[in-house]
Every structure is written in structure tokens, then in C-alpha cells.
């Protein structure tokens, strides 16, 4: 007997209606029901961070969150962080500037985690970034560039200077 439940989810500022089994995770709902495939499935068990999204502005793992649990909450995915006109989010831009990926599979999770990490005020030093980004694994080992990108984006958030402008000045 498979019962589905009806859910109305607020994702990236838009209301989405879906019928899913109660066991469906937010990750599977995004990818399988709503074709929002930017959020990645790595381990599906809370161990890698690839599925990181924001719920009410806080970074969480969508693989260990039931879709049913986040009804009424504001969900943000990697598809929802660029500006309306398509300009990249500063953290996205900093990842490109710093070559902070190889295969790119962990990248959406890294970026969602980094946006929150900077917002939390946990990106003050390289050491702090490594600690507070430790929930995002990168099997390609692009860690040095990821840390550099997060540092740059954090400095930018603090000073208001964009990564690409700094590159031009240099």
C-alpha cells in the first residue's frame, strides 16, 4: 500500500505543489519531483554535504530531511541564489575566479554551505573556514581553492569589492 501525501513547498521564493510518499526526502523531492537537479546526491547519509540547501536561511542536509518536514519553511537551493537578472552570487563568482572545483559534483553543496558559513560569521580565517566547511567533502581534493574562494567571498562581503573587479585592478 503506497499512500502519497500532498505537500506545498516554498522553494526559491516559489510555491511548488507535489504528491509524494511520506518517506521522500527533500533531496529526492527536489531532484525527482521538481527537476531541480542542482542539488546533488553524494552519500545520501549525511556524510558528504553534496545535498546542502538552506531552510529558513540555515544550511542543512536535504538527504536527511523529509520533504514533509519542511512544509511552511523557506527552502533555498543552488538554483535560487543568483540575482534575478542572472548575475552570479558573489560566492559563485569567487568559485569561478579561484578554480574551486574539478569535476564540480560537490560544488553546489560547497557553495550553499559557503554562503551560510560567511553569513554566520565563520569565515574569518583559513583555519575557521576549514573547520566550518568540514561538512562538505570534495573527492577531487580541490580544498585549497575552495578555501581561497570562500576567503575571497567573505572579504568581499565585508568590504564590498567584487572578485572580478579586484582581478582587474591587479
Amino acid at each position: 500500500m503506497t499512500r502519497t501525501i500532498h505537500l506545498s513547498l516554498d522553494i526559491n521564493g516559489k510555491q511548488h505543489e507535489l504528491d509524494v510518499e511520506p518517506r521522500v526526502t527533500l533531496l529526492d523531492a527536489l531532484r525527482e519531483s521538481l527537476a531541480l537537479t542542482g542539488t546533488k546526491k553524494g552519500c545520501d547519509q549525511g556524510q558528504c554535504g553534496a545535498c546542502t540547501c538552506h531552510v529558513d536561511g540555515k544550511r542543512v542536509l536535504s538527504c536527511l530531511t523529509l520533504a514533509a518536514q519542511v512544509e511552511g519553511r523557506q527552502i533555498t537551493t543552488i538554483e535560487g541564489i543568483a540575482a534575478e537578472g542572472g548575475d552570479l552570487h558573489p560566492v559563485q563568482a569567487a568559485f569561478i575566479e579561484n578554480d574551486a572545483f574539478q569535476c564540480g559534483y560537490c560544488t553546489p553543496g560547497q557553495i550553499m554551505s559557503a554562503v551560510a558559513c560567511i553569513r554566520e560569521g565563520h569565515a574569518g580565517s583559513e583555519e575557521e573556514i576549514r573547520e566550518y566547511m568540514s561538512g562538505n567533502l570534495c573527492r577531487c581534493g580541490a580544498y585549497n581553492s575552495i578555501v581561497a574562494a570562500v576567503r575571497e567571498a567573505a572579504e568581499m562581503a565585508a568590504t564590498g569589492v567584487a572578485a572580478k573587479d579586484k582581478a582587474e585592478v591587479a
Partner: protein
């Protein structure tokens, strides 16, 4: 993951009643529950979601101590200025646990009930024998790979580590677990595996953890949580220690000391023998190292975990020496 039905409780009473059903389980952050449901270790028929209940996530810290609601998130407690000031070891035990994402999801109530990371326990398909999962079926770990298994508090039925960090700090500072009106000292909350490793705590069916209370003490205020592990972050403890020290007015004689160990025992482990041997003394490196060895009195190795019997006393000693200004 087997399908289940989902029910959002409107009150603690309703949640409590709903979990009296045999196949029903409470759902908080889900970081243990859904993980184990995916492994096939837990197969609930109904999940009773308590995360929408109001009031269960409140925190207060005053001169008497801290009270923390069961739904407070690990991250909120770790960052709470009052907790950091009055109970540094408690805040550190949380900020050194899991990852930022998990700490935003996981609740204090769920944290206390997290299950062992024993890899045999987590793989029912490959290792049917596990007394914790399936009483009487045997233990796949004994005679297997035991690098992450307990050396203290084990039985012939089970040698699984209780992996939690927070509970170690709570045991050191005599915290209480509150289940509505019932209040249990955290040390009595957890049971040794004995012949019934499936039975881990004194929580009864239908009971809900509503919060924890930690009494203030000078030792808790002057405390630290040291966690040693295979990688620097996002990893469970190979061995950890919560240590708090209160000195006499002379600033060097130990009036009160609390020592608890994690990562090495089947339940959060208070090391009273270490405490007793240091109370009334002035700390020095040699005495602290000698006393710290008492923390593993009675430890039993199963091969791969032998290193923990060496490591745990060193972690204890380093934490004590740090708090005593000697490291």
C-alpha cells in the same frame, strides 16, 4: 528506506500518545533516525514529527545553571553565549561534533538518543548477527574489526561505543535529563549493555525528553572538551575527555575536579578514580599522568581497539594539564 506514515504532532501530549503504538517513533532532526532507516536498521511504521512544537526549544542560563529544551539545535546551544561562559566544555562538545549542517538540524533530545556507529550494527544485510539490533543473534564485532569499539563497559553481548560528545560533558557536570515531570541524572539515564544491549536508556515507551538541566558549578565554568580523532573535523572521537577544575583560593590546590571520557566506552564514562586521586593536591605533570591512567581501570581490548587504552589516559591528562595551566 521502507515507507512509513508521517504525522505532525500538535502537542507534547499528542506526540507522547502517538508513540505508544508499537511501530511509531518520534522524529526530531532526523539525522540519526533517517540515516538508520536508510540502512534498514530502524523500520518505523509511523514517524511522529515533533519539530513543529512550540516552546520545546527554549534555553535559559542563569546563576543556578542551564535549562535547554529538547528541540534546541546543537548549533544554537554551541553558540549560546551563556552556555559558552558557564559551561565551555558543553559548548565545545557540540561545536566539535558532526558538521555545521548537521548541527543546524540535530536536536539536543535526539542527540542524547543517537545510536552507535558500530559498522556491523549499521549493515543488517551483510551482518545479521547483532545483539543490539536483534537480541540473541550474537555480535559480529567480537572477533571482527574492532578499531572503533569500546574498551570500557563492554559485555560479551556487545562492545559498541556510545559515540555522543555532548553526553560526555553532561555526565562530567551532573546534568539531568527531563521527561516532563520525571527527572533522571544523566549517568543513570544510560545503561550498560550487559545481556541486553538493545536496551540503551531508561526512557520508557511513550516518554518524551523535554529538556536537560545542567547545574552551575565552578568546575563547569572552568572546563574544556578535548576530542582526538582520525581526521581533524567532522569525525567521531577516537577518544575524548570533558574536564573541569575548581581550585582553592590559593589558585593551585584542586578543590573539585570532573573527568569524563568519550569514544572509548559503551556509555558516557565518568572517571571518578581520576577525580578522587587529584582532589586536594597541587597538579604536576607526573601526578596527572599517573592519575589519568586510572581512567582506563578495567579496560578490555578486543585487538583493533587496543590503542584506545593508551590513548584515553593521554587525552585525559592533556585536558587536565591544559585546565591546570601546565600544558
Amino acid at each position: 528506506m521502507r515507507d512509513f506514515s508521517y504525522f505532525r504532532a500538535a502537542s507534547t501530549e499528542e506526540a507522547s500518545r502517538a508513540t505508544l503504538d508499537a511501530g511509531a517513533m518520534l522524529l526530531a532532526g532526523g539525522t540519526t533516525l533517517l540515516d538508520l532507516a536508510k540502512c534498514g536498521v530502524t523500520e518505523p511504521d509511523t514517524l511522529v514529527d515533533i519539530t513543529h512544537l512550540a516552546g520545546l526549544g527554549d534555553m535559559t542560563v542563569d546563576a543556578n545553571g542551564a535549562t535547554i529544551g529538547a528541540l534546541a539545535k546543537m548549533g544554537e546551544v554551541a553558540d549560546h553565549p551563556g552556555v559558552k561562559a558557564a559551561f565551555p566544555a558543553v559548548a565545545q562538545s557540540l561545536s566539535l561534533a558532526a558538521s555545521a549542517q548537521l548541527r543546524n538540524m540535530a536536536t539536543i533530545g535526539g542527540n542524547l538518543l543517537q545510536r552507535t556507529r558500530c559498522s556491523y550494527f549499521r549493515e543488517p544485510g551483510v551482518f545479521p548477527a547483532c545483539n543490539k539490533r536483534n537480541p540473541g543473534s550474537g555480535c559480529s564485532a567480537i572477533g571482527g574489526v574492532t578499531r572503533n569499539h569500546a574498551v570500557l563497559g563492554t559485555s560479551r553481548a556487545c562492545i559498541a561505543v556510545n559515540p555522543g560528545d555532548l553526553a560526555v560533558a553532561l555526565v562530567a557536570f551532573d546534568a539531568y535529563v527531563e521527561m516532563g515531570r520525571r527527572r533522571v541524572a544523566i549517568e543513570d539515564f544510560y545503561m550498560l549493555p550487559g545481556e541486553t544491549p538493545d536496551w540503551e536508556t531508561v526512557l520508557k515507551k511513550g516518554e518524551i525528553i523535554t529538556g536537560i538541566a545542567i547545574p552551575a558549578s565552578p568546575a563547569a565554568k572552568n572546563s574544556t572538551y578535548l576530542k582526538v580523532r582520525d581526521r581533524q573535523s567532522y569525525e567521531f572521537a577516537a577518544a575524548s575527555a570533558a574536564v573541569g577544575i575548581e581550585f582553592e583560593a590559593d589558585g593551585k590546590t584542586v578543590r573539585d575536579i570532573r573527568v569524563a571520557l568519550g569514544g572509548v566506552a559503551t556509555r558516557p564514562w565518568r572517571a571518578r578514580a581520576v577525580e578522587q586521586s587529584l582532589i586536594g593536591t597541587v597538579l604536576n605533570v607526573e601526578a596527572v599522568e599517573k592519575a589519568s591512567r586510572l581512567s582506563v581501570e578495567g579496560a578490555v581490548s578486543h585487538g583493533g581497539n587496543r590503542y584506545k587504552i593508551e590513548l584515553a589516559p593521554r587525552v585525559v591528562a592533556r585536558a587536565i594539564l591544559t585546565m591546570g595551566g601546565l600544558a
